[in-house]
Amino acid sequence: MIEIKELQKKFGKFEVLKNINLSCKKGECIALIGPNGCGKTTLIKSVLGMVLPDSGTIHFNGNSVLGEYLYREKIGYMPQIGRYPDNMTIGQIIEMIKKIRNSSDDLDEDLLHAFELEKMFDKQMRTLSGGTTQKVSAVLAFLFNPDVLILDEPTAGLDPLAAEVLKEKIIKEKEKGKLILITSHLLSELDDLITEIIFMQEGKVHFHQKVEELKTTTGEEKISKAIAKILKNKQNEPNH
C-alpha cells in the first residue's frame, strides 16, 4: 500500500532521513519506534506530503504521492501535537473538516460518542487541555473511514480510560483490514496491538520485522524486552 524507496531529507545540514526503504501492506498494524529525533515524524509527514523529500520516492497504492493530494482522502492522520485555529470551537472544526472533505460516505462517529465530545461542542480550541485536543485529533483521524490510519503518539496525553477507548478502536479498525501506522514510546501499550515493528535510529531503518519473528529470534515474550535485547547485542558488536 505504501512503498518508500531511497527516501532522503535534510533540514539544513542535518540529515533527518538517510536512505529509507520501507514497504507497508494492507491489514498490518505497524509500530514505528525509535529514540527522540530519529526522524519518525518527518517520515510520516513525508508520506502525507507535508514535508517534501530531497530525493527518493513514495508510492501510495502504486501512484507517486509527489504533487498529488487526492490520495490523502484515504489517510486519517492524527498529529503528535494537534494544532488548531484558536478561536474555533470543537463543533466548528469538525463541521469545517466535514465541509472540506465533502464526503458522502458514512461517517464514523464512534469516537465522538465514546469521548463524549458532543457535550463540549461549543468550547473554543484554545481553552482545551492537551488531552482533549488529542481526542479531537483522534476523532478527525477516524471520522472518514480511511483505509490508512497514521497515528503519531496517539495515547500521549490521554487519560487511561480514553487511551483504552482509543486502543479498542484501533484494534477494531485493524480487524477491518486497514493499514495502521503508530509511533509510540510506550512499548508495553503496543503488545496486543501490532503485527510489525519498524525500528529507526538516526534517520535509518534499523530493522523491519514481524512481531512473531522478533519474539522467536530473541526468545522474549514482551516486545519491549525483545527490542532491548537487540539493542544490547548491537552495542556489544565491535565498531567498524
Binding site: 507535508m50 498529529p79 485555529p85 469545517m96 472540506i100
Partner: protein, 255 residues
C-alpha cells in the same frame, strides 16, 4: 475552492479588526468630503489616506493573519486539498476582505461625492493597492518562519514604499537636476506601486498644472490611454509577481 474561501472569509469577518478598519476609513472619507467645500480638496485628503493607511493595514493585517493561520494551514494540508489551492484561497479570502473594507469605507463616499472618472480611478487604485499589499504580505510571511521577523519585514516593505522610495527619488532629482532625467523619472515610478497610483490620480486632478516640466512629461505619458493601460498593467504585476513567488515557495515548504 469556494468552500475554503468561505471559511476564511467568515473567519476574517469574525475578526473585528477589518470592521474597525472599514469604520475608520468611512469616518475619514465622509469627514474629509464634509469639511472641504470643493470635492477636489476632499479627494486630495482621501488620496493621502489611500496611499498611507490602506497599504499599511493591508500588509500588516494580512501578514499577521497568515502567521496566525499556520495551524489552519497545517490542518488543511493533512486533508485532500492541493497546496496551491490552500494558498490561493487564503489570498482570495484576504484580498476580498481588504477590497470590500476599502469599498465600503472609502469607495461609497467617493462615488457619492465625486461620481466622475477621478472618483472611479481612485476607487480602482485603492482596490489595486489593497490587493498589491496583501500579495506583498504573502511574500514577507513566506520568507521567514519567525513571526516577529515576518511582521518586521512587512513594516519595512511598507516604510520603503510609503516613505523611503520617495526620499530616494527626491535625492536623485536634486543630484541630477542638471541632466534631462524627466523620461527616466517616468520609468522609476514603475518601481513603486504607491507612486504609480499617486501619479495616476494626481494627473487627473487640477493640481497637476503645478508640477512643472516633469509634470508635463508625466502627463504626456500617463495622460494617454496607452500610458494609463501600461500603468494599470504595472500595478497588476505588482500584485501578481510577489504572490507568484510566494506560491512557488509555499509549494516547496516543509510544514
Amino acid at each position: 475552492m469556494n468552500r475554503i474561501i468561505k471559511i476564511i472569509l467568515s473567519d476574517i469577518i469574525r475578526n473585528k479588526i477589518v470592521l474597525a478598519y472599514t469604520l475608520i476609513l468611512s469616518i475619514l472619507s465622509w469627514s474629509s468630503f464634509a469639511l472641504e467645500d470643493n470635492s477636489s480638496k476632499g479627494l486630495l485628503t482621501i488620496l493621502n489616506v489611500i496611499l498611507f493607511t490602506v497599504p499599511l493595514v493591508s500588509i500588516l493585517f494580512a501578514t499577521i493573519y497568515l502567521y496566525n493561520s499556520a495551524e489552519f494551514i497545517e490542518l488543511l494540508l493533512s486533508q485532500p486539498i492541493k497546496r496551491r489551492k490552500i494558498w490561493l484561497s487564503l489570498f482570495f479570502g484576504l484580498s476580498t476582505a481588504m477590497v470590500f473594507a476599502f469599498f465600503i469605507g472609502a469607495g461609497i463616499p467617493l462615488l457619492v461625492n465625486s461620481p466622475d472618472s477621478i472618483g472611479f480611478m481612485m476607487l480602482l487604485n485603492g482596490c489595486l493597492i489593497s490587493v498589491i499589499f496583501v500579495a506583498l504580505a504573502f511574500l514577507s510571511s513566506i520568507l521567514t518562519r519567525d513571526k516577529a521577523k515576518g511582521i518586521g519585514l512587512a513594516i519595512m516593505i511598507w516604510l520603503y514604499f510609503a516613505l523611503l522610495f520617495d526620499g530616494m527619488v527626491l535625492f536623485l532629482l536634486f543630484q541630477l537636476a542638471e541632466y534631462p532625467i524627466e523620461n527616466m523619472m517616468v520609468g522609476i515610478t514603475a518601481f513603486s506601486p504607491i507612486d504609480l497610483a499617486r501619479i495616476q490620480i494626481l494627473l487627473h486632478l487640477d493640481v497637476s498644472a503645478m508640477m512643472g516640466y516633469t509634470g508635463a512629461i508625466f502627463k504626456d505619458f500617463f495622460g494617454t490611454s496607452v500610458g494609463l493601460i501600461v500603468s494599470f498593467v504595472l500595478l497588476s504585476l505588482w500584485a501578481i509577481i510577489p504572490f507568484f513567488i510566494s506560491m512557488r515557495k509555499f509549494n516547496k515548504k516543509d510544514l
